[in-house]
């Protein structure tokens, strides 16, 4: 089994001198293929910083991050953008679909960025949309969808370019309990069927049933939470 994400001694400090604030403090994490990990923590604990660093959006002050075996160190902005496109699938809070694209086009757009052939993209989009049971809504705009449907489109969009790993930022924040659980179950299903990995950041402890491991972000490091399950 290969590691999809490896974080070694990652530290992120904001500010300098006395006012410096260390958000990530020598954090270590390894996520293997087929693993679905949840990271818990109250707001302000550094979850966003953790996700940004892991997602190649933020360069850590020190430490090393490897995505699908590839080190993020010494990569310039353009290379990181390319890497995010090919290796990472993002799910944002409140889905964050583009309001002016129809459901199917949301997927075709990321495929187009990755220079997938239009024909291939169509097939892949249809496959994902059918599996996530949103195929009938493919010609709708996001404003016509419910919150749960939007997040399902977001899952499909995140998996579109067959990334190595999926990062989900509070995917259930805007959903009620049962729809939230449904969305998490779908992420877990995709991780298993595609043989990929996923990291979900959340503050909602009711959403953890399908996660392989649950970690707490405390004082800048991740702690295994045995007590919870």
């Amino acid at each position: 089994m290969s590691a999809k994400l490896v974080m070694k001694q990652v530290t992120k400090t904001y500010g300098e001198g006395d006012g410096a604030m260390t958000v990530l403090n020598h954090l270590d994490l390894t996520v293997n293929e087929g693993e679905f990990i949840a990271v818990l923590g109250p707001s302000g604990s550094g979850k966003s910083t953790f996700l940004s660093a892991a997602g190649a959006l933020l360069t850590p002050t020190s430490g090393e991050i490897l995505l699908d075996g590839e080190s993020l160190r010494d990569k310039d902005k353009g290379e990181l953008t390319e890497l995010r496109l090919k290796k990472i699938g993002f799910m944002f809070q409140s889905a964050q679909l583009l309001p002016f694209l129809k459901v199917e086009e949301q997927l075709l757009y990321v495929a187009k960025l990755a220079k997938l052939s239009p024909k291939e993209a169509k097939v892949r989009a249809a496959y994902l949309l059918k599996r996530l049971e949103i195929w009938e809504r493919r010609n709708h705009y996001p404003e016509q969808l419910s919150g749960g449907e939007k997040q399902r489109v977001a899952i499909a969009r995140a998996w579109m370019n067959k990334p190595a790993i999926l990062f989900a930022d509070e995917p259930t924040a805007s959903l009620d309990y049962s729809r939230g659980r449904e969305v998490v179950r779908m992420i877990a299903d995709e991780v298993r069927s595609e043989g990929k990995a996923a990291v979900m950041v959340t503050h909602d402890e009711r959403m953890l049933d399908w996660c392989d491991r649950v970690l707490h972000l405390e004082d800048g490091v991740l702690v295994e939470a045995h007590s919870l399950n």
Binding site: K47, S48, L51, S52, G55, L57, L58, G78, T81, E82, L83, R84, L85, K86, I88, F90, F92, Q93, S94, Q96, L98, P99, F100, L101, E105, Y109, V110, K112, L113, A114, Y141, D169, A173, S174
Partner: protein, 374 residues
Amino acid sequence: MFLAIREMRHSKARYSLIMVIMLLVSFLVLFVTGLARGLAYANISALKNMPANYFAVQSDADHTFRRSQLTDTELAAARSVAGEANATPLGVQTSTITAAGADVKADITFFAVDMTGMLAPEVTEGAGFTNEVQGSAIADSKLEQSGVTIGSTIRDQASGMSWTVTGFVKDSSYSHTPVVYINQLDWQAMKQGTVQGGGGSGKANAPYNVIALDVTAAQAGQIADQLQSVEVITQKQAIASVPGYSAEQNSLMMMIVFLIVIAAVVLAVFFYVITIQKTSQFGILKAMGTKMSYLAWSVIGQVMLLSVASLVLGILLTLGMNMGLPDTMPFELDGQTMAMTSLLFIGMSLLGSLISVARVAKVDALEAIGRTGA
């Protein structure tokens, strides 16, 4: 363009609105340009249609034809350089005429020319006359509209002389007045009285105003060097010095410049506001791996599409409007002017869109994480 087009499809009302504004401004720009050109042409078409590319004027005349006085000596000198056919005298006299048998009183400008030389008017209606005939004239067709016909007798109020109109020419105005062409014989007769009255000798030929030249730049320089107190100016300079011409064109030019600037500012501000509204979207797009160059082309593409589309409609509207304009309203828009104006308009729009592009460049992909957003 994938994003640009779909976004416009989704927000039709928003983008139609900006297109209507741009359409109106581009129409206004083209229309005022056409009017400015039309006015210019109506003002000085007689000069513009002359085959002369240089004019010799008295150096203290400020390039103004009517202030200049040149004699046979200067003409001979100019001809020695340019050749007999390429230098010809021109007399200019503004006056008021009345026409017998018609209730006409009109301000006109007499052009005294050599009827066999290069300035001889090209008659479009009726017939010309020779240098030896006295009492004949060719008038601009605008006089025809005020009731003068071929065979009419027109009388100069100042000198009391009369001419029979033998033909008409088209597009021959000077300082917004129709031009009446007479030959040098009548010019001498008209001027002798003045010269004698002024206490002159009366024997010498009455002076001309300017000498029209069809020469190379080198020859023009040579003539200017040879003749003291004579300046050789280009046709452009001569036109710019026609009384009222510069003032008229400058005001219109200022309007056009302001219109183009306003169009650019309106578009720039509109797109900037839209861009600010979409900040979170750009963050998401960047986080997902969209290259900055792609986003920049998306913004520029939208501006291009909008400005080109509204410009095309603006051109059609201008041409349509032109067909409905009355003849008395001078309007002239040639392809070259139109192309230049259009390019300027699109160029300014693109310049304005760069502000939005700069704004998009500043958006950090990090904004996508941890935002509840819309």
